[in-house]
């Protein structure tokens, strides 16, 4: 009897102890589902307060996140969410915060500054939002003062729309997709250049639409070995502007991860084009484009949406040339704010350190996505 009671007590106590251990020090899989939370004391330091806020943003627990702010009286929860996710549909509307990082900057007895980095998982690009947060002590806990960026209001105005548009009349309902009556637009690769990088071989260059009609374009490259056998085939995917108006040029970049240029004898390039309906709208102006030298070499500037509609996602493609006019690198950035009419939005494209010294000029093109686009 005593042995049985002892066993029951031991199993019961072990069960409770294991549950307690698993809750106070959760296993990594459980931490992930709890959004990085455990039953550890909260907001007892400036860093913990920011971390808790970050965890709530990851979990999209907006009520809790908003309630935890020291200056919540200054704005509404809707404005707080809009400041993080975007007031207009943009890249962050098509994203979730994947993880966060917290860096303490300064702390005193009653206040502190902490940097919060939000790493987004997005369908395109890899945006990071960095916010320097002021944290204040309130009794035995710390609270974040959120530095709200107010919604940009576009003033009422009339914007004349005067742009070119190309429509295409297809054969009829029985057509196969892609089968057309007309010849494909003439496109030409005007420059092509393989580069060996640490992550593999990169093929970059430029493609010109020589025709007088718009073209949907893509480029495929096949690496051929010493015996002319194909080693790998890859496409430009999103490192290209797929819609080219007449006489437009787009850069392209094709990656071959883990490939070595020493194994490659030649490269077979296959440009593809097909006729598509298109319009020149929305027109996006690139303003104040500037090459910044190493260290931290980059191409900066701002985009100005000249049309009257909101551009939800903009993709900036920079082509970098050496002094002889050859392409030495292609880089890109997705702008994570919507482009409002006539409202400048900055961009910043990083240039690899080792290539930055060769760069003497650049050309920038912008591709855009507008939600609910035409079918």
């Amino acid at each position: 009897m005593r042995k049985g009671a002892l066993l029951a007590g031991a199993l019961g106590a072990a069960t409770v102890a294991l549950v307690a251990i698993g809750t106070i020090w959760p296993v990594p899989e459980a931490v992930a589902y709890a959004g990085g939370q455990s039953l550890m004391p909260k907001s007892s330091t400036p860093e913990a307060a920011v971390r808790n806020l970050g965890d709530e943003i990851v979990l999209q627990a907006w009520d809790k996140a908003y309630d935890s702010l020291a200056n919540k009286a200054e704005f509404t929860e809707q404005e707080f969410v809009g400041d993080i996710k975007g007031y207009y549909p943009n890249l962050r509307s098509y994203s979730d915060v994947d993880h966060i990082e917290v860096f303490p900057l300064h702390a005193s007895a009653n206040d502190g500054d902490v940097q919060l980095k939000l790493y987004w998982s997005t369908v395109v690009g890899e945006p990071v939002t960095t916010r320097n947060l002021h944290v204040v002590r309130n009794g035995d806990r710390w609270q974040v003062e959120w530095p709200l960026v107010k919604k940009t209001i576009v003033p009422p105005q009339v914007i004349p729309v005067n742009y070119l548009r190309w429509d295409v009349i297809y054969r009829g309902a029985g057509d196969d997709w892609g089968a057309q009556d007309v010849e494909a637009p003439h496109v030409r690769i005007v420059d092509m250049h393989p580069v060996q990088r640490a992550e593999g071989v990169v093929v970059l260059g430029e493609l010109l639409n020589e025709d007088v009609v718009p073209a949907y374009v893509s480029v495929t490259a096949t690496l051929l070995g010493k015996d002319q056998a194909p080693l790998a085939t890859e496409g430009s995917f999103d490192k290209i502007c797929h819609l080219l108006l007449p006489k437009q040029v787009t850069p392209f970049l094709i990656s071959f991860p883990d490939a070595s240029l020493s194994d490659v004898r030649s490269i077979r390039m296959t440009p593809f084009s097909t006729l598509v309906p298109a319009s020149a709208d929305p027109v996006i102006e690139i303003d104040s484009a500037k090459l910044n030298p190493a260290p931290d070499a980059s191409l900066t500037g701002q985009l100005i949406n000249q049309s009257g509609q909101v551009v939800n996602v903009a993709h900036v493609l920079g082509t970098f040339y050496d002094s002889t006019g050859h392409v030495v690198w292609v880089a890109d950035q997705y702008v994570d704010h919507a482009l409002l009419p006539q409202t400048p939005e900055p961009f910043d494209i990083h240039i690899p350190e080792d290539l930055a010294r060769k760069v003497s000029s650049q050309r920038t093109v912008v591709a855009s996505y507008v939600a609910g686009g035409a079918l």
Binding site: L18, V27, W177
Partner: protein
């Protein structure tokens, strides 16, 4: 009769069609219906082998579907499994408790929350099909170990093999949670004051382990060959059953409260009675370990004991097994409560049982597997016409409907729902599961989607069927164009120009013809054999079981302990 009364109407209403995995198993069954001896299925992952999943329940569905169609065949096979389950619980419980308590346990099994959860919410036909076979095999194992006799030996061997052919995990883990306690019971058990001798115990245990092991190796040979050549090395995929149920109460509700229901109230009794009565201690220990593992990430046990398997397995099956192991205790508790409180106890227990079952059955409504389930018939029709099925497709935002779509269309997809069967590097490298739900897997899911779209030309992937505008920017910037809309414009079809028609991938995973013949013959044959051997009459000693001592209150009187 109770099982029929409760579950037959629910199954005839096809309630399991709302669950997570029912269409998945119907999809597998539809392949067996058309290609019984060819397990290479080209409709998912640009081709994958169905020998990566034991086939028997799906083959039964395929066979019965020739009479009543796939959906109803699934329901009938599930009903048969539930009936077998009740019998299995009775026979298993009778090893530990009196026949009357075992009857209560069997009755409780009809209302068991975890069973209803797996049937109506999870749609885990193989687990709920294999467990009853396994439970029915255990009494034969006990008979064989305790007294020998070729009939028990043959029946146990064939039933264990049949259970493995239905669901290999049930046998693998069942050996620890169910068979070890039964072996311990056979060792502890006294008949006329005598125990089985240790040499006999060892010899009989080895005899059955070796023969069952060999039989399973042969019956599932293509499965083992596939597993050895292509072990599951892909990046683990998150699953909420590994959450801490206290820190994530929504998953605690889903994976603890619903499966256990009122059975959770019996936990103190299980611990106390299981510890007090010597012959129940092996059962208690089996229950305890399964219970801890079933708690997922609430305790560190699963992470420490299962190691990498913790990131591969889903934990709700352990809760299921824990509740099966708890049923003999429940029968015992019911007996004592009814003896003491008569009708008041019977009514209370009935209310608790019905409430538990009701919660688990209705959970699929309150917590639907796919909140926006929709009809994919129009999508299948679009893919099947005008040569669209010459190309492969992928869906985005279709949830669990991709199994249904795959069943209805002739076109192949690069996506699928059977993660262990996929071999495309774009899918295995990142840690995302279905592409159709890529965004829910965060960066790994989206990386995987981008990788497969990058190689669209290679796979003949021309169509992306989108029901979630979240993915539109990706498709737009990657060079895809919307070409059609379906279902009142809720579904957009995106196309990529210049993609060549899909060609069969010359995959090394494709099983040779002889494996297809084995796969179509031996696992199903083991089930037929299992049915046939049950007609062999039982041995006479069985009747002597009436004289056995069972765990009941009198065991608690000091001095009468079996130990």
């Amino acid at each position: 009769m109770a099982a029929l009364a409760v579950h037959l109407p629910l199954l005839l209403m096809k309630l399991p069609l709302k669950s997570y995995d029912t269409y998945f198993h119907i999809f597998f069954a539809s392949h067996y219906l058309h290609h019984w001896f060819n397990p290479w299925n080209t409709k998912w992952y640009a081709g994958f082998s169905q020998v990566t999943y034991p086939p028997v329940p799906q083959q039964w569905v395929a066979l019965v579907s020739r009479l009543v169609g796939l959906d109803l065949a699934y329901m009938l096979v599930q009903m048969a499994a539930i009936l077998l389950f009740v019998v299995g619980v009775y026979r298993f419980a009778k090893l530990w408790v009196s026949p009357r308590a075992a009857s209560y346990a069997a009755l409780a099994s009809v209302f068991l929350g975890s069973e209803s959860f797996l049937v109506y919410c999870a749609g885990q036909l193989p687990t709920t099909f294999a467990a009853p076979i396994y439970l029915n095999a255990l009494p034969f194992l006990f008979e064989w170990i305790r007294r020998g006799g070729w009939r028990s030996y043959v029946k146990a061997t064939i039933l264990f093999t049949a259970a493995a052919a239905a669901h290999h995990f049930t046998l693998l883990f069942g050996s620890f949670f169910f068979a070890l306690p039964v072996l311990a019971l056979a060792l502890l058990d006294r008949e006329n004051g005598e125990r089985v001798s240790t040499p006999s115990f060892i010899a009989r245990t080895l005899a059955i382990v070796i023969v069952v092991g060999a039989a399973i190796a042969v019956v599932l040979l293509p499965f083992w060959i596939a597993l050895i050549h292509y072990p599951v090395t892909q990046t683990p995929i998150p699953h909420p059953s590994r959450a801490n149920y206290i820190l994530s109460p929504e998953w605690g509700m889903n994976y603890f409260v619903v499966p256990f229901g009122a059975l959770a109230l019996a936990l103190p009794f299980i611990f106390v009675r299981g510890s007090m009565v010597t012959r129940l201690r092996p059962l208690l220990l089996g229950f305890w370990v399964a219970f801890l593992l079933g708690l997922g990430g609430t305790t560190p046990v699963g992470h420490l004991v299962l190691r990498r398997a913790f990131d591969v397995l889903t934990m709700e099956r352990f809760s299921y097994w824990a509740t099966l192991l708890a049923l003999p205790f429940v029968g015992l508790l019911a007996t004592e409560l009814i003896d003491r409180y008569r009708s008041r106890a019977a009514v209370s227990l009935g209310v608790l049982a019905i409430s538990t079952c009701a919660l688990a059955v209705s959970w699929t409504i309150y917590h639907p597997a796919d909140p926006e389930a929709f009809d994919v018939t129009s999508v299948a029709g679009w893919l099947n016409r005008d040569g669209h099925d010459q190309y492969r497709y992928v869906t985005l935002g279709f949830g669990d409907e991709i199994s249904r779509l795959a069943q209805l269309t002739n076109a192949g997809s690069v996506d699928g729902e059977w993660n262990s069967g996929r071999m495309l590097p774009e899918l295995t490298r990142y840690g995302g599961a279905q592409l159709t739900s890529a965004k829910y897997y965060g960066k790994p899911g989206l990386d995987s989607l981008r990788a497969i779209l990058t190689h669209a030309d290679h796979y003949g992937l021309k169509w992306v069927l989108v029901r979630d505008h979240y993915y539109d920017p990706l498709l737009s910037f990657a060079g895809w164009r919307p070409v059609d809309k379906l279902d009142e414009e809720t579904i957009t079809i995106w196309s990529k120009d210049g993609v060549p028609p899909a060609t069969p991938l010359n995959s090394p995973q494709m099983p040779p013809h002889w494996q297809g013949v084995l796969w179509g013959t031996l696992p199903f044959g083991s089930n037929i054999l299992a049915i046939l051997v049950l007609f062999i009459p039982e041995e006479r000693q069985q009747k002597a079981r009436a004289r056995y001592r069972f765990a009941s209150e009198e065991d608690l009187v000091p001095g009468r302990m079996a130990s």
